[in-house]
Point group: C2
Chain length 506, copies 2
């Protein structure tokens, strides 16, 4: 019998993965469910991660010429209806504003009043409202390209929600661009997918697979949707960013026309691309362990917590002085374009204190007691190692080395996640093996299943639908890397046209 | 007869102030009205100002221990109703969500479907929804204070809107804090008012008067509302930030209770405080002139535009090389915690180019032609001076001096605005002079009136209401600076209890 190891999070991943996730979020103090159905409250420890994500992506967008702007929260119903597939895709999940004030009703309580002549939709995405602006901004090819990004809240009414991963309201960025040529728009679509890849891999330490969505998983109204897909620790896929090539669909719908260099009137070619607070759910599910959250240093809410240890009251002033001077020196240092963020926790709550910071996922915990001070040293725990595995550093060495240590944690997390994905990714050619792979070993824990499968596919939506119905497995993407293909579709046995990545997904 | 001077903005301030404002905003390319009634589109040049405002305020908030978080966009009607004055204050301007999807209606078009059992209000402000979180977060005095800020969009349905100044949707920050004692909450209320004062004066270069609102102008549900008031160039007041002492009103409504150090159960004392995109309207109206926008350097979207002047095609490579190397050197420099932002405009559109940048309010325009290059010099125009008043600088001197020049512009703008306010502020003791002061000289231009008046007031709401009805003049605030008072109320002649600042207002 295995020795029972006490963990900070109950249940563990192996015991109940979905519940483990909820408990990690709760214990980390990042966010909570709100009394408003499906909407979350992002608490300071979680919002700081979002701020770091915003800052990191913003810098990358800006380097490619993108500028931020802001468009209305409300979209007139008639705007949404301009693109047929688009409105069909979002009609079932729209928050609808029908009135603009409240009045005393017959029962004495307040009731909606001032009915609107046209209902307004709370934006689920902004192609149509931004398109209306673009059509005003563009008249000549000289006005193109337009490269805009918006940081905003959006609403998609969800029946089954899960904090960060699927919420009725979420925060995101949505980029929208318009171009004179198809080639340029396609280039931008891929450029932004590459930025997402770089950001998610380098900042969130989440390895991703770049690919193209099948028709059934495309953004409503797009010609092509490209995506990055990451593997969570339950081996499910999480779509972590999408970049859409919209062709001329939305420019026809919104009338974005321009006079070309050859003095011909043409419709612009547009793109849109987005990532959201869902990324925070993704990083929780990628790195956290049975002791709670693990934050990659580059987007951590804070980098290091100093924990003064005072057993005799007389030692307090000396220990605090040493701690505060260490904090001051650390705060002067930069780690990837931001100052090292330092917490000091001098609460007298015993061992619970260290565990709280482990559960919050802070990369480094530094214990400082009279003995460390006598040796001019600090005692350091890394969140990517076992909680007991701590190391003593000379104080100045630690200050000199801290950015290297953080980089090492960042690297370890990425490599660990990459290894995990490799362990749970297979190539399968035959139908029976494919079905076995996705059948849970233990029917009581259906969430533990195979992982990512590369299989050949004939390209038909029927096969895709059949696999989805039988196994709840979808094509996550057709990978963008070239793979020589031949042989037969894993579903129907007819000639294959491509490889595809199959997985269960969030 | 005065010589007619051509201005870049038509009409001028003197000709039609409200229309001048709209035209300055339009010509600056900061924002535009959207097809959604009362909602604006903030374009990149305007959004960059908002980003700088966010960054500046955020740093100041953080230094006082405030942390950012995010709460739901939607507020259940029953939450809003918890505080009676509060719901009454906002009932007439609420966007109400009543349905959560769209369905094909009888006429074939899409119509709202999936009625909600309880309507949701799009937040006009978040005291009640944040209060619900605070009540979960607080149980002991050790959990206090809670110091939270949220950057968000809010909706207050407005019938008469004006871009930036009064829009149905606007962007803002709302701070919410909870404290164990009344004294601490009051101290926080004043601390945030002081931060607003410092920020608006030092960053937006807008001089303000700090004061307390009268009961009739208080935030619905507050015990006391404190504000900062600025004078626009039509001598009207603009409320530019408010800080509310909420007493225990909202903690009773939201049940924010805690166990005190003396083990007594008590209600927390709360505050809230906010500033919004209205500040951008304020800075337009404070500094702009008949040639368009004037941006204070500390929050300018960009600091300097380089305008290469090429008359002979052969000169192009040399001029561009000189321009780009200058840009690179300037971009390395820091101005008040951010890098100098540099634009290069090499469009071949003649004199229109320089005027476009004047209308956009960029602090510095730098012309670079072959002759300047031969002298290793640059030719610099400052937006706070006449458009023709340009000065030649040695290139390296300019690079060395640019931050001082920007500081000088910042200072000039503040002093000019302060002088303007002083010129249009008077103390009036008698009723007739008071009424005369607020009667427009020219009835065809009712927007040009007196300015700020300090008068004695008996403290009665009747007098306040009478003056408002007769003159559309309100008490902007009771100034926080001590002024010895005696004598009679400017309205009724009864004994006065305080001085008050009277003005027309936005």
């Amino acid at each position: 019998m295995a020795k029972h190891i006490k963990t900070a999070i109950t249940p563990t991943r192996a015991e109940n993965y979905p519940e483990w996730y909820q408990q990690v979020v709760r214990a980390s103090d990042m966010a909570e469910n709100s009394p408003v159905k499906g909407c979350m409250v992002i608490k300071p420890w979680g919002y700081a991660v979002w701020e770091n994500i915003m800052r990191g992506l913003d810098d990358m967008f800006r380097e490619t010429g993108v500028r931020n702007a802001y468009f209305p929260l409300f979209i007139p119903l008639s705007f949404l209806e301009k693109e047929a597939e688009h409105v069909e895709g979002f009609a079932k999940e729209c928050a609808v504003v029908t009135h603009h004030r409240l009045e005393q009703g017959a029962d004495g309580g307040l009731a909606p009043a001032g009915p609107l002549t046209e209902p307004l939709i709370v934006r689920p995405t902004s192609e149509t409202i931004i398109g209306a602006s673009f059509s005003r901004w563009v008249s000549s090819y000289r006005d193109l390209p337009i490269l805009i990004n918006q940081w905003a809240n959006v609403v998609r009414w969800e029946m089954r929600t899960r904090i960060f991963l699927r919420t009725t309201e979420f925060l995101w960025q949505e980029g929208h661009t318009a171009h004179a040529t198809k080639e340029e728009a396609l280039e931008r679509t891929h450029m932004m997918l590459d930025i997402y890849t770089k950001f998610v891999e380098e900042y969130l330490a989440m390895p991703v697979i770049k690919g193209k969505k099948t028709a059934s998983e495309r953004f409503p109204g797009a010609i092509d949707t490209f995506c990055i897909e990451a593997m969570m620790q339950d081996r499910k896929a999480l779509q972590s960013g999408t970049s859409h090539f919209l062709g001329q669909n939305f420019s026809r719908a919104s009338d974005i026309r321009f006079q070309s260099a050859r003095e011909k009137e043409e419709y612009a070619w547009t793109t849109s691309w987005g990532t959201s607070t869902r990324l925070i759910g993704g990083l929780v599910m990628t790195h956290s362990d049975d002791n709670g959250l693990v934050l990659p240093p580059k987007i951590a809410s804070s980098h290091v917590v100093l924990l003064p240890i005072v057993k005799k009251k007389d030692d307090l002033p000396m220990v605090m002085e040493y701690t505060e001077s260490l904090a001051d020196e650390l705060k002067e240092k930069c780690y990837h374009q931001r100052k090292i963020a330092v917490e000091i926790d001098n609460r007298d709550i015993g061992g619970a204190r260290g565990w709280e910071w482990i559960k919050k996922g802070i990369p480094l915990r530094v214990e400082i007691g009279p003995r460390d001070i006598a040796n001019n040293s600090v005692y350091v725990g890394r969140r990517d190692k076992e909680s007991k595995d701590k190391k003593s550093y000379n104080r100045d060495t630690f200050i000199g080395e801290i950015t290297n240590i953080l980089d090492d944690i960042q690297k370890t997390l990425f490599e660990r996640a990459l290894m995990f994905r490799k362990e749970h990714s297979v190539i399968i050619d035959d139908n029976k093996t494919f079905y076995d792979f996705f059948t849970p070993d233990n029917p009581e824990k259906p969430e533990i299943h195979g992982g990512f499968v590369s299989s050949k596919w004939c390209g038909s939506e029927k096969c895709e639908a059949k696999i989805k119905e039988n196994l709840s497995v979808t094509i996550r993407c057709v990978p963008l890397i070239d793979m020589a293909v031949g042989g037969k579709c894993v579903c129907c046995g007819r000639p294959a046209v491509t490889y595809a990545i199959f997985a269960k997904a969030y």
